[in-house]
């Protein structure tokens, strides 16, 4: 099953060119991604985010309607787009507000006490160094085209990893695993390190890279769901009497959440989209429920509740492509196994940076291959030549 020299040359060319095009962006992604692994911890350390206060003995639950009213009163000119919570922090509700319910980005993200309804904290949106890193990592401040461009770089990474793994075989045909030849030439040492670290982290980089690509499609994926399945759910309810009768009533998010909880007693509320938001309909709240097992807690079930009648309209099912996106998030962020997993994510990211950097170094050095090495390759003496098909190719053998 040995590959012909020509096959190796083609795979090597794929590895070289996919890497050359993407490396600068991948280095940027690895470097900005490193602190982003600890975004949550850094936010808390800097005081951008706070823990809900301890309230021993307090078992009350504040009305969500009261929290939303208080949040809108506190923010004149803004309306509520979403309320959200973290099931691991049930003492808090977060209210996202914007000038329009369908605005693409919120203008405020306020934390309220879920027990007392008290205002707790105002998360500083779009500020600080971490936000700069986040935007560079997300879209390089270029919006959706920037995100999609980085997704394309991620696809090149996948091609580079696959082709790199293919040429690993011939490169390592005479070397025991883990061999790093020291003291011969710096280039040889870095070539061995590049191969060792690249193959050792291959699956992790492949998974983080590919799930990153899926994450870049987040906006189109949700748009597809909104335009097809959510639109169909809304259309199916268009003739309901509730729509006409409810026009006079007062919308209640508290009632919507209660209806969703009653329909799915084993699930937890993740977030609620308000009527008029692209994640809801003009006359419904969508309560997004998450499961109570480690795996299903990453997935969402949309529950449509009529805003003014409180009538449960539909319990939907997310299509496979939304579930794929939702599972890609933890696999990309590394935030699903506690702090030790985040630390491992950071260490693997640092190794990936060495692989990328050594790849650039090897390319630069190859462009300046010494005449001695070329002669050695021509004469077929130095065993270096066996591990450098590109050198053989250049020397015409």
């Amino acid at each position: 099953m040995a590959m012909t020299a020509e096959t190796i040359r083609v795979w090597y060319a794929v590895h070289k060119w996919t890497s050359l095009i993407s490396t600068l962006f991948l280095l940027m992604l690895c470097i900005t991604g490193l602190p982003l692994i600890f975004y949550h911890e850094i936010d808390h350390a800097l005081g951008h985010a706070v823990e809900p206060p301890e309230r021993p003995g307090v078992t009350t639950a504040a009305s969500l309607d009261a929290i939303v009213s208080a949040a809108e009163a506190r923010r004149p000119g803004l309306v509520t787009q979403f309320v959200s919570r973290d099931p691991e922090e049930p003492e808090a509700w977060y209210v996202s507000l914007a000038q329009r319910v369908d605005a693409p980005e919120p203008d405020a993200f306020d934390m309220y006490d879920a027990r007392t309804g008290e205002y707790l904290h105002d998360y500083p949106l779009e500020q600080g160094f971490m936000y700069v890193l986040y935007r560079l990592h997300l879209d390089m401040y270029a919006g959706l085209p920037g995100t999609l461009f980085l997704g394309a770089m991620g696809l090149l990474l996948v091609a580079s990893l696959v082709s790199g793994a293919v040429v690993y075989g011939p490169f390592m045909a005479k070397l025991r695993f883990g061999t790093v030849r020291r003291g011969r030439s710096a280039r040889l040492e870095w070539l061995d390190l590049h191969n060792l670290l690249g193959i050792a982290t291959l699956v992790w980089v492949l998974v983080v890279g590919f799930t990153g690509v899926i994450n870049t499609l987040s906006i189109p994926i949700f748009a597809q769901w909104q335009n097809t399945e959510l639109a169909a759910m809304a259309a199916a309810t268009a003739g309901d009497t509730g729509n006409a009768a409810g026009a006079a009533g007062t919308p209640s998010v508290e009632r919507a959440v209660a209806a969703a909880r009653a329909a799915l007693p084993d699930a937890e509320v993740s977030f609620v989209a308000f009527p008029g938001n692209p994640f809801a309909t003009a006359s419904h709240f969508t309560v997004f429920m998450q499961g109570d097992t480690p795996l299903t807690s990453k997935l969402l079930t949309p529950v449509l509740v009529h805003a003014t009648t409180g009538e449960l309209t539909a319990v939907g099912r997310m299509p496979w492509y939304v579930s794929a996106l939702l599972l890609s998030q933890p696999l990309h962020f590394g935030d699903y196994g506690g702090l030790p997993l985040k630390i491992l994510w950071a260490l693997l990211d640092l190794i990936a940076i060495v692989v990328l950097g050594s790849g650039v170094y090897l390319w630069v050095k190859k462009r300046n291959v010494s005449i001695t090495e070329r002669l050695a390759a021509l004469a077929g003496r130095a065993d270096e030549a066996d591990y450098l098909p590109e050198l053989r190719q250049e020397s015409g053998t």
């Binding site: 883990g178 790093v180 193959i199 998974v207």
Partner: protein, 60 residues
């Protein structure tokens, strides 16, 4: 000149590392306490292999 290694010899360790990494990435997703622990141990393996062989001062 050194002897050529068989494909099995070349790919034994890379395949094992890939399988262990995939296991670690998966277990934390489906199980919290035990799954997290397995993930920590499993994903420590590629890190440890990188550091061990990367730092070793021997020539091949």
């Amino acid at each position: 000149m050194r002897r050529r290694l068989t494909a099995a010899e070349v790919w034994r360790w890379p395949l094992a590392l890939g399988a262990v990494s995939a296991l670690g990435l998966g277990t934390a997703l489906v199980s919290d306490s035990v799954g997290d622990l397995i993930a920590w141990l499993a994903l420590s393996v590629p890190v440890a292999v990188s550091v061990w062989y990367g730092a070793r001062r021997t020539s091949g």
